[in-house]
Symmetry: C2
Subunit: 602 residues, 2 copies
Amino acid sequence: MRYSKLFGKTKLTTPHDSDSVNAKYLTQAGFVDKMAAGIYNFLPLGKRVLDKIVQIIREEMNAVDGQEIAMPALHPIELWETTGRTKTADAILYRTKGAGDKDFVFAPSHEEAVTPLAAKSVQSYKDLPISVYQFQTKFRNEPRAKSGVLRGREFGMKDMYSFHATEKDMDEYYERVKQAYLNVYERCGVKAYVVEASGGIFSDKISHEFSVVTPAGEDTILVCEKCNIAQNLEVAIGKVHNPENPEEKELPMKEVKAERGPSIDESAEAHKVAPSKVLKTVVYALSGGGLIGVCIRGDLKVNEHKLAHYLGSEVRPASKDELEKIGLVAGFISPVGLPKVKGGLKHGAEVGGDEKDVKEEKHGKTALPFVADNSIRDVKNFVTGANKKNLDLVNVNLGTDFTIDDFVDLVTVDESFGCAKCGSELTETKAIEAGNIFKLGTKFSKDFDLHFTNDQGKRDFVIMGCYGIGTTRLVGTIVEASHDEKGIIWPVSVAPYQVHLISLGAQKDSEVNTAAENIYEALQMAGVEVLYDERDESAGKKFNDADLIGLPLRIVVSSRTLKEKSVEWKLRNETEGKLVKYTDAPKEIIEWVHDCDCSGAV
Amino acid sequence: MRYSKLFGKTKLTTPHDSDSVNAKYLTQAGFVDKMAAGIYNFLPLGKRVLDKIVQIIREEMNAVDGQEIAMPALHPIELWETTGRTKTADAILYRTKGAGDKDFVFAPSHEEAVTPLAAKSVQSYKDLPISVYQFQTKFRNEPRAKSGVLRGREFGMKDMYSFHATEKDMDEYYERVKQAYLNVYERCGVKAYVVEASGGIFSDKISHEFSVVTPAGEDTILVCEKCNIAQNLEVAIGKVHNPENPEEKELPMKEVKAERGPSIDESAEAHKVAPSKVLKTVVYALSGGGLIGVCIRGDLKVNEHKLAHYLGSEVRPASKDELEKIGLVAGFISPVGLPKVKGGLKHGAEVGGDEKDVKEEKHGKTALPFVADNSIRDVKNFVTGANKKNLDLVNVNLGTDFTIDDFVDLVTVDESFGCAKCGSELTETKAIEAGNIFKLGTKFSKDFDLHFTNDQGKRDFVIMGCYGIGTTRLVGTIVEASHDEKGIIWPVSVAPYQVHLISLGAQKDSEVNTAAENIYEALQMAGVEVLYDERDESAGKKFNDADLIGLPLRIVVSSRTLKEKSVEWKLRNETEGKLVKYTDAPKEIIEWVHDCDCSGAV
């Protein structure tokens, strides 16, 4: 392709409203063009990248026996009413009226299409398993489209749906697809980890996300390189290093005067113990009203996301006023000696609303439900506050001196923790979610009566899985993961062209022109994808454009290089170029391309 | 692909609501599945056909320097308001509301997207010409979806748009695309003709349709094989064979008694002349009210579609009552001796509405505007009615004995006519419209201020062309054009698989199974696309399925063929099979595939 003929050239300036690296570079380099918020044109360069990604995904889905189909985007609303998603997905549905005043939605997902479709094919267990996928345009009325092509209102997606007779078959297939997804990212030149989806460790819904590592990612993940898995920081579980002596004997609790500040460190110092020996107690206010006490080992932090998930309510630390109102003293709070809530705590459900169990009792203090992180279970002889200003308790022991209504994992995990599985070191890094997979169970099968006769001759519902990768989003993700201050650095497998051929001063110097044209022709004959910048522009302009566009190999032909009977050879991800004999150049370029993993090339 | 694993198998029965051959066969054979009226799922077989068609089109569009892009389907309504098409295309637009209560349309076409996009790239004549295309899903709220995948509400389309500095460049490019379109149809295995679009010969809009010949086509076309062009019967022009002696002298008109029936033939017989010597006069009623007289040579028929187009109004022959009301006698009407409409006829505009010029005048008859087909110009000494029962006029001559307000082409052309260009024979055939191309001029450029600086340094509007092929429609068109009573007959280039391999009685006979598996493996290794029916079904069921699905080459392995050390080889479009040595079979199949024009294969 001659650059002078290409539709969609580089722009001198960054788009004024670009809110991300991918929006900035993809637009400025001529890969995409924004039509409206969250709605993008893909120009020839961008379309080529997208096509290569699509082809890589297609090959990997075929390798796990996926069969490609194409389902419509326009769905009669009855399908969505059947699953209840006209309500649960109401906010993001684009709706329309068709002929005969009929209601339709433009599909943000295709369970409502694929399930009734499968029901027409599946009768017996012999018809299972089946896996079908498509590359489709999805429409989601996002309240706020952002981050370039990362979060669009109209976007490309590969969605696959699988159908199984047994849980075992579902589970095995799920693992195969998980590996296929990892292959996709690897072949697209980015490092991805399997991540337990947000809330996944608490909920019954089984799903995984795939996170691509990039410095500007919107998520923070903790990676175990040994297990090759990652967790979202918000929900991560980890191995708490136990600093305690398990042989330690319980000592009798006693009150000690403590003129100290309110922090854990100040408490530890006052009593000459490690912070891990301090019983930290934080009181939280629930969004619906009501308070709850949370205990955790002094050296650990409460993960408010986990707490909120456990309680089914947003939470915030209680204010000083709120504490004083129920007779508690900030910095000296502990569950010891406080009145109990009648009947205990039932998984957050009773917290907040119902006041009848929260009565004024001894010490004039209000009864407060208490939950604790598991980390306090193994510590003996805690130091903690006595619920009075400047009065502490030492040798406080769980069960002996206080009780807790419920134990749960509430710890904020960071790099200092070990992997919960293997104990190895965890690494914290920024990432972008680039795909997800779900075990759907029989939710949609039941909605659409997708049943089959099992090998016992009995009627059963089909077990479903679904698997999504945003294709246009992946274009942006790769840019986020692979760029520098000059522009994009495309992995060879998804680069729109493999080679950026530049002639300098060709108009004035027919020798340069002939040499560059010869190389262009030789590469094209060999099937090498070349972008040939033959414009009458300065070297600076051409080099800047090449860096911005980011093709893997740059070849420069100029009178300077030809004096050495050479061309300049420079990889986009290296700083130094080298000279290669002009006569050898085509052969060496062809060999280089051949040696690259260009298996994604179409 | 093993047929037992394929998603979307043949069905025993025809879908109850299939209104066309393509709907019937594509559904029954498992290529498509109807989700709602005009909205189809493409199953694996159908998707493969679609992909091959897409790839053929892609190659042809690339060959005319088209650059592939992808534009969004969801357009802010402001774009459509700019072109006025929110009004002119109102009936077919799907509309929706997005975040922030913004209005959007789902695009039935992409001029509104591509023109502002081009405006961002085009500054100078040096940036022109440009041609961009996409494969996109179009949404059209058709009042009545019909004919399977031929007329859908959601359908696939390749649309290309070209941008030019001069009319000359536009015209040259238009001809290149016309040829590329013909290449597409030829490579897809169907015969297509370039057709002057309906109304094209009268209107200023320059456009062409491409019609694929099929017995059940909704259009009737007249083909000149020599010029390789076709015309829609409704608007066809042709060379009228002139049966007249141009040397004939005008004779004086005279009245003759004529006790005859009302037809032209009866008039010709009564006066012993050829029907072409009879001046036929038909009175038409316009949809808005009003009447008009139309003269044509007696052996020709008035084309009401041409008349309606000329008048800008629907027409129907006037009733006997209407004729009597203005004093005319059915069967004896002629323009001779009738009062003239004051000021004559202005291109249909004054007809019908305005009564002030239509006055009772001599003979107590109403003044009537008259138009005539050009065919009456060269005939001398017509025979015609005298506007009285059983009274005729002979030796009636245009100019001498009557005048006409306007001359226009109003003749119904059929096979008896010659080609208007070369005079050769015309052939009438049924066809389906399978693509169209338009010269858009500067309509959209002006709407979106798409201008450029021309080579004289002056500001000019870009000249645009657009070019569409319905891809999903083409799947259906091919089926309409290529099938028999048993099922589809796919052209090799677009067949989902090239070979249908069938094993018979394989479960019981391991020799058959081994032989079939060996062939399957050998073909797959060689990259031959094989559908392998290894099910435990009867020969009848398997043969019927193979005929219905319609792959080009059927190979049968059975104990009967193996007794002859052979397999059966049968082409779908031939009735007789033959035996081929088992050991030679893979090699011969591979050679056959190689020799076929499978250039569309993906």
